[in-house]
Amino acid sequence: MIGFNLSKRFIRVWQRNFRVYQKTWKISFVPPLLEPLFYLAAFGVGLGGLVGALSYGGKTTGYTAYIAPALIAINIMQSSFFENTFGSFVRMYYQKTFDAMLATPLTIEEIITGEILWGATKSVIGSALMMIIITCFGLLHFPEALLLLPVAFLGGFAFACIGMVFTSVVPTIETFNLPIFLFITPMFLFSGTFFPLNNLPGWAQLFAKVLPLTHLVELCRAFALGRLDVSNLTSIAYLVIWCVIFFPIAVTGMRRRLVR
């Protein structure tokens, strides 16, 4: 039981979640389709009229085109983070799904890996749906924009891991409000999502660089607008390192919580 016992059987856990998703996909499809419409209308058309265009990567970019990729990045973050906080907590605490799984040959490593991969998968599904809508507005630059899908997986995995870390420590489901208020909401606003980071004072820019969403937004924007840059590699490396650090912490934390 000690050590890292992971076989490809984690796919069974993923399949369980996918099976449930197939029953509710009609509802799950609504937010990623409607959300970009609301935001593009409010921020792009409404606020964009005031802002006009801004400079991104040395080129003039319309405000709507500027925030559209950030909306995808935010969705990537929220999809997997919510799946592996509220979703996983309900399965763990209320439905005892993990307890039932642990009476089978599945290991704790496989259960948590399956859960995290499912969170990342939801990020990919959400991004694909949003891309359809945003493409209708002519705001994505193909074929580079197709790279958003692997980015969604990477970013989704990163936020799934940190979500699972919180799930392994929160005493009650209400406690998730704390990381949402202190971690998710500030990132939503201050990660270069709705305005360029260089509008912030130097210390705040430095702080933003530590936040994972900043790097996810950078990647989404570069790929969506077809303006690939060497700095993208730094962002990818940042997210990969994030996963490498927080994935084992999530698994260890959940083992400590579940195996008594």
Binding site: N5, R12, A100, M101, A103, P105, V259
Partner: protein, 303 residues
Amino acid sequence: MSAIIEVENLRKSYGSDIAVDGISFTVQAGECFGLLGPNGAGKTTIIRMIYGFTPRESGRLSLFGTDCDGAWRSLKAKIGVCQQEDNLDPDLTVRQNLETFAAYFDLPSNLVNDRVMALLQFTALEGREHANVMELSGGLKRRLVLARALLNEPQLLILDEPTSGLDPQSRHQLWSRLDDLKQRGLTTLLTTHYMDEAQRLCDRLIIMDHGKILVEGKPLDLIRDHVGKSVIEVIAPCSDLRMALKEKGVVFEDVGQRLIIYSNDGENLYRDLLSEHCREGCMLRPATLEDVFLRLTGRELRE
């Protein structure tokens, strides 16, 4: 006969709280073995260690003749578990619950369909396969949990309080299913708070308290050795009765408004009591496992 479960000096503590304190027992193939004890006695902890959910602190455990260290995946594939709390998947239908669980065991899909159909029939759940699990009654849920535990055709079935909260019909139905499984030679490890259930199902059992075994044996032997043939209960006993019983050297328990008298010669004693001491409120009945349990573990509340 070969041993399916061998437990030797098993220990587990949580902080300063000792849950299991040096337990040893052996379960032979084809046996139904019971773990009895008040709440907090350590039954569930033992069961969880046996199916590899809870790591052992110390002691030896071997299943199917194999030492358990490191071989969990292949051992778990041979065990079916009905856990105490309801952990069916509420997001899935009856059939999907079984199919999804079969996938956790990596059962080949051509096998799954046959087994699911056979188990739905065995547990009398046919016709409900598309029902939502949330809509099932307690009895139906328990039957589905049993069906789920049998999907991998286990060589050892572990039941943690399988009939808690069920109505008598559902209990008897579940018992007869367990009888069927026993006929097929399935080894079963069972915990229960119902002594009639233990007496009905178990070939051998242990009664434990505070993490230690108090007694081990066959139900009828335990009753004979620890209580005797019969029990006389006297409600609202008169004061001279206690004196008389002490003079006769009869073993009895005084629980305030009620005397409980243990005897191997119950019928004669009962006749004497009726003629000499009390006209009414006196009742003779055969001794049961519940008498053994209460004698050994006491009558005070645990939680």
